[in-house]
């Protein structure tokens, strides 16, 4: 085996793949945050908890109802998205007229509730979820597990489909218009409140989908969301929330950088995203794809 800068290629590419997968989760979650923030003006702090709920929904569907992974891939996001719709109707819709900070505080409380409930029911330990695609391909320079390849392909597809829907379809143009001027869009006869509700449900569903994808890779644990969401916030600060493609690129890119850091300087792998955030704040405070307001 040849070595690359003193690192066996299997290790390097293995970590890069894991970085790409983490990057896929960053991309899906920051995408959802950006879509929700655009229309609701709420930073959804519960996003991490909803990602955790997606993983738990898949686990519970399998454990208690015997519903396999492939069905859970659709059912779990729909179920969790439905809880998001209830939350939006009951709670969030009451605070749109207030400062953005109250949305953050409300969803932070929601995240605490969700995490606390799941911790009291399932403990802080993780629940294993069987790998639906065992085995893998030997690519010569590395071993590619089938499931990990599937996660990368599917998340890329989901990200691009979301981008296409928002930037290239009629529904998306309504959405973008309502982000700019909800009052005018309403005047044209579009039911904006319903659009807001469905958008929140969609964003939450995206987070839950990432959770289902994560379940076979990481253990299903009540704590899996809270640590992730803080990194995703840093990703959002780095990328800015103005651009859909921007959040996708930033998410995958930061995942890759994190993977590289794990190979060459593992002590910094937890903090590298935050360091990059600090550097971006120094050089381009509005974020890489953001516009200064």
């Amino acid at each position: 085996m040849f070595e690359l800068i003193g690192v066996p290629p299997a290790v390097l590419f293995g970590q890069l793949l894991l970085g790409l997968i983490n990057g896929a989760f960053y991309a899906i979650l920051s995408l959802g945050l950006a879509v929700i923030f655009g229309l609701l003006n709420v930073i959804n702090f519960a996003h991490g908890a909803q990602y955790m709920m997606g993983a738990f929904a898949a686990w519970m569907l399998l454990t208690f109802a015997g519903i396999p992974y492939w069905a859970a891939l659709v059912v779990a996001p729909v179920l969790v998205g439905a809880t998001g719709i209830v939350v939006e109707r009951l709670l969030l819709s009451r605070i749109y007229h207030l400062d953005h900070l109250y949305g953050l505080l409300l969803t932070f409380g929601l995240a605490l509730i969700l995490e606390g409930v799941f911790r009291s029911q399932f403990g802080s330990g993780g629940q294993p979820y069987p790998n639906p695609l065992p085995g893998g391909q030997n690519l010569g320079f590395m071993f590619l597990p089938n499931y990990r390849a599937w996660v990368v392909v599917l998340s890329l597809a989901v990200c691009l489909a979301t981008w296409f829907m928002i930037e290239r379809t009629k529904l998306g143009s309504y959405l973008r218009a309502a982000t700019e001027r909800p009052d005018l869009v309403q005047a044209f006869g579009v039911n904006v409140p319903r659009m807001i509700t469905l958008t929140y449900g969609f964003g939450v569903g995206l987070a839950a989908l990432a959770g289902v994808l994560a379940a076979p890779i990481y253990q299903v644990s009540p704590l899996m969301g809270s640590n992730l969401i803080i990194v995703v916030f840093a990703v959002v600060v780095i990328g800015g929330m103005g651009s859909i493609l921007g959040s996708i690129v930033t998410g995958f890119g930061l995942g890759l950088i994190e993977g590289l850091t794990k190979v060459f300087y593992p002590e910094a792998s937890n903090t590298v995203v935050f360091v990059i955030m600090a550097i971006v704040l120094l050089i381009k405070p509005a974020g890489l794809f953001g516009t200064a307001k």
Partner: protein, 335 residues
């Protein structure tokens, strides 16, 4: 009236203050005297360690309130100043053999330096981004504390001795230490009151209400924000260092994001932008934690429910709502 009307409406929503009343200084003096009296007699009725915990968190919440209540900046990372100072103070007392007052000063100095660096970065963004930036930087500091040697990793710094204050006054007795902590708290509380009601504090409130106008009036808004941030961080550090002296422990939970969330909750429940609100809020939340500590994970759920209820039902907080009631009653009496 507990606080001036303008302060009760001074939530980050930036609602225009409808009823601005002059004065309020006399009311503050009465209430402050009542708080001092309550602080003096409390240890004869309640467990001193519990009361000291309340005082430490009350100071923490007051320091946090200096930012959210008077500058309108929501920091979601104040645990790094609280916990960072707790570590430095604990290390200084245990390993370097510092006396408590020097340990607390060392903790405050550390929090001030850290606050300058973090504030300098974070004030480049406003509103919601400011909250996310402070949260992320605090998480970075958390990982630093987890990995570095002197914090003791998962164990934290334990069994920190209670050395005599100034090398003279023994602090091993909880009652004695209580009165020291009470004196420190009251001094810091008065300092915050003085800051808020100084010309500097007026500029801060102007920035909160309308930042572009403050800029157009020629104020260097960035500098004011940074100074307020460093003051807030330093006082949060004082609270963390005092907590270390009281509990003889500095641990990872002091720097975790949950701690940042707790101080937000205390201030929100008590009343953002009110002078006494954070003290009341800290009392409520600490009492709630003590009372509920037997039911484990449900503490988290209860805190979440209180958060949601506070945002939906009483955004002005306990003190803010009472003040608004009193103001309304007076207005009715006058008309």
């Amino acid at each position: 009236m507990l606080v001036r009307a303008e302060e009760t409406t001074g939530t980050p929503a930036g609602a225009p203050a409808a009823a601005r009343r002059p004065g309020g200084g006399a009311t503050f003096l009465w209430l402050f005297a009542a708080m001092v009296a309550a602080g003096m007699v409390a240890p004869f009725f309640a467990y001193p360690v519990f009361l000291m915990k309340v005082l430490c968190f009350a100071l923490f919440a007051c320091a946090f309130n200096l930012l959210i209540g008077y500058v309108g900046l929501l920091s979601f990372g104040h645990a790094m100043f609280f916990g960072g100072a707790a570590y430095v103070c604990g290390y200084g007392i245990k390993t370097l053999g510092l006396t408590p007052e020097l340990g607390i000063l060392a903790g405050m100095a550390f929090a001030a330096v850290l606050g300058s660096a973090v504030g300098w970065l974070a004030i480049r963004r406003q509103g919601i981004y400011f909250a996310m930036v402070t949260l992320a930087l605090a998480q970075m500091f958390f990982f630093f504390c987890l990995q570095t040697r002197f914090t003791g990793g998962e164990d934290g710094i334990q069994a920190i001795p209670r050395r005599p204050l100034f090398g003279l006054i023994p602090t091993t007795d909880d009652r004695v230490l209580y009165f020291i902590v009470l004196a420190l708290f009251l001094a810091a509380f008065l300092l915050i009151y003085r800051i808020v009601h100084s010309p500097f504090g007026q500029v801060l409130k102007a920035i909160r209400e309308n930042e572009p106008r403050a800029i157009s009036l020629g104020y260097r808004v960035e500098r004011y924000k940074l100074v307020a941030f460093v003051l807030s961080a330093t006082l949060a550090g004082m609270a963390g260092a005092m907590k270390t002296v009281v509990f003889q422990l500095a641990s990872l939970s002091d720097v975790a994001w949950q701690m940042s969330g707790e101080v937000v909750l205390m201030t929100l429940v008590g009343g953002m932008g009110t002078v006494f609100g954070p003290v009341v809020g800290a009392g409520i939340i600490v009492a709630m934690q003590n009372y509920l500590s037997g039911i484990g994970e449900w503490v988290l759920v209860t805190q979440g429910v209180v958060f949601v209820a506070a945002v939906l039902l009483f955004r002005r907080g306990v003190v803010g709502e009472i003040a608004a009631l009193v103001t309304r009653a007076r207005a009715r009496g006058e008309s």
